[in-house]
């Protein structure tokens, strides 16, 4: 049985369509990613799943419960980490966990949970004095304190430095390994690629694709890229005619060749044949970032992606 079933979900705010006819099912024990740009409708979508918003149309079941009608029961089996959710500034870590534990009939042992999340030493630290990474770990602790069967984590690593982010990623994998289904909302593609078993790509409110990260990448026409710098200008025609080569572009002295097959070998030998001296030759395989951009129909140069876009509030 699917843990989360969403069928034909629609939600609009006035004239703005936030979610447009989205359907998907989340299987037990997977990390299911919902990815999209800021403002694509991801948060509205999960807020409907959490029962915080009522959809205009469509059917949602979370562990067989209707989030709009069975809110109280849903709260017992779902742990949520909200974008923009916070705690009182002076509330201490230990107090927050003990307080949230009291809301649930069954739950985790607060001391052990803090230990697992590396927060034991911060037990007496006020929320306002936590670093970004510590606050996010506390947020995860509060999402898990009720021993949920499904955890919804919204933009969990936004604003974290790379080291703190890696720590949080490891935690999410541990959560999944303990049998909890994870619904992960993110606009940071390396995060989705690293963590998610399957990914739903949301673009302007619609479901653009649903597949494993590998499956989404494999859909690309040109999943490889060869980059090099030529010592002297050369005629791009020596490469464009080759088997497997898609596009050849030169920008600020660096040439980027996209294509398929044994691309590196094909490009390398053609350059040698024509006496082009190349330095810094690198082969890059496509990432989820590339797949995402191809799916949502915008070129990489059009808008900053990944980390540089993180500071925007959604």
């Amino acid at each position: 049985m699917a843990v989360v079933e969403v069928e034909g979900l629609c939600k609009r705010y006035g004239e703005t369509v936030a979610v447009d006819d989205v359907s998907f099912a989340v299987e037990r024990g997977e990390i299911f990613g919902i990815v999209g740009r800021n403002g694509a409708g991801k948060t509205t979508l999960v807020e409907c799943v959490e029962g915080v918003r009522r959809p205009d149309r469509g059917r949602i079941r979370v562990l067989g419960l209707d989030p709009s009608r069975d809110r109280a029961r849903l709260r017992q089996v779902m742990g949520a980490q909200l974008q923009g959710g916070a705690l009182p500034e002076k509330l201490r870590v230990g107090e927050a966990v003990a307080l949230y534990r009291s809301f649930y009939a069954e739950g985790a042992d607060p001391a052990r949970l803090l230990d697992e999340l590396g927060l034991s030493a911060k037990r007496d630290t006020a929320f306002e004095n936590l670093s970004g990474g510590q606050a996010q770990r506390l947020s995860i602790a509060l999402a898990l304190i009720g021993k949920p069967r499904i955890a919804v984590l919204d933009e969990l690593t936004t604003g974290l430095d790379p080291r703190a982010r890696r720590g949080v990623w490891e935690l999410i994998e541990q959560i999944r390994d303990s049998g909890v289904t994870v619904l992960l909302v993110t606009h940071f593609m390396p995060e989705a690629e690293r963590l998610c078993d399957r990914v739903a790509v949301i673009d302007r409110g619609r479901l653009a694709a649903l597949d494993t990260p590998g499956g989404l990448i494999a859909r690309l026409d040109s999943p490889q890229r060869v980059r090099f710098r030529a010592a002297a200008p050369f005629d791009a025609a020596v490469l464009t005619g080759l088997d497997g080569v898609g596009e050849v572009r030169t920008d600020r002295g660096e040439t980027v060749v996209t294509g398929t097959g044994n691309l590196l070998h094909a490009v390398g030998s053609a350059l040698v044949r024509h006496g082009v001296v190349a330095t810094g030759t690198r082969l890059e395989t496509a990432t989820l970032d590339d797949a995402f951009l191809a799916l949502t129909g915008r070129t990489p140069g059009e808008e900053p992606t990944g980390e540089s876009g993180e500071e925007e509030p959604a």
Binding site: A72, L82, L91, Y104, G146
Partner: protein, 253 residues
Amino acid sequence: MTTYRPPARAWALLTWTEAKLVTRDIAGLVVPLFLPMLIMVMYGLGADGEGTERFRGVPAFDAYVVPMTLVMVVALIGMVNMPAVLAAYRGSGVLRRLEVTPAPPVMILVAQVLAALAQVLVGVVLALLVARLAFGMSMPRDPLPAIGVFCLATAAVYALGMLVAAIAPTTNAAVAIGLVLFFATMALGGGFGPRENLPDGLAALGEHLPYGAGLEALSATWTGVAPDLRHLAALAGAAVLAGAAAAKTFRWD
């Protein structure tokens, strides 16, 4: 499958936690606890302690300054401090975060009200102790009605405070609206000197706003006469009207 509700322990723990948070906000404690007391002490130092005819033989300090101080304590906490905390909770996402837990939203309001009441109790006891020990204040001639009147006044200013919390878009707005409301009702209600000095229309208005009505009714219990029904009705009316308006307009995010 029965629907699980958080146990009494959760309500108690949330209330206890909110009370602890109140004690950690030093700035929020100083104004409502010590400003009214400072004003009371200044009046007390100038008082002669003689009974006056106006208050049926009770000194004006006992029958007017002390009730005014007690109303000031509860009005500051109910109309300024509590709405500021709730507006901050909404602004920073504390209420949103609670929304996805099994805790019903009203739980945080109840906890906040109870924590603020504890603060009021501390302020009242401190003020009464200082008035008694330093200035020989006499206790109200009608102690039970005094308690009842104070509870009614508390309900009225808390309802107004909830309305402030409901309509204020930000924490700063809540403090601003709360303070304006506090000073306006206090000025019209006789907090800056006898209402007789005000134009008749304003004096009559102030007498029926929570500050003035609370002060008059509480003062009556000190002199041992029954509080005027108009004042009690004004307090009850403010509690019901503002409470209903707050319940209708309160936003959680």
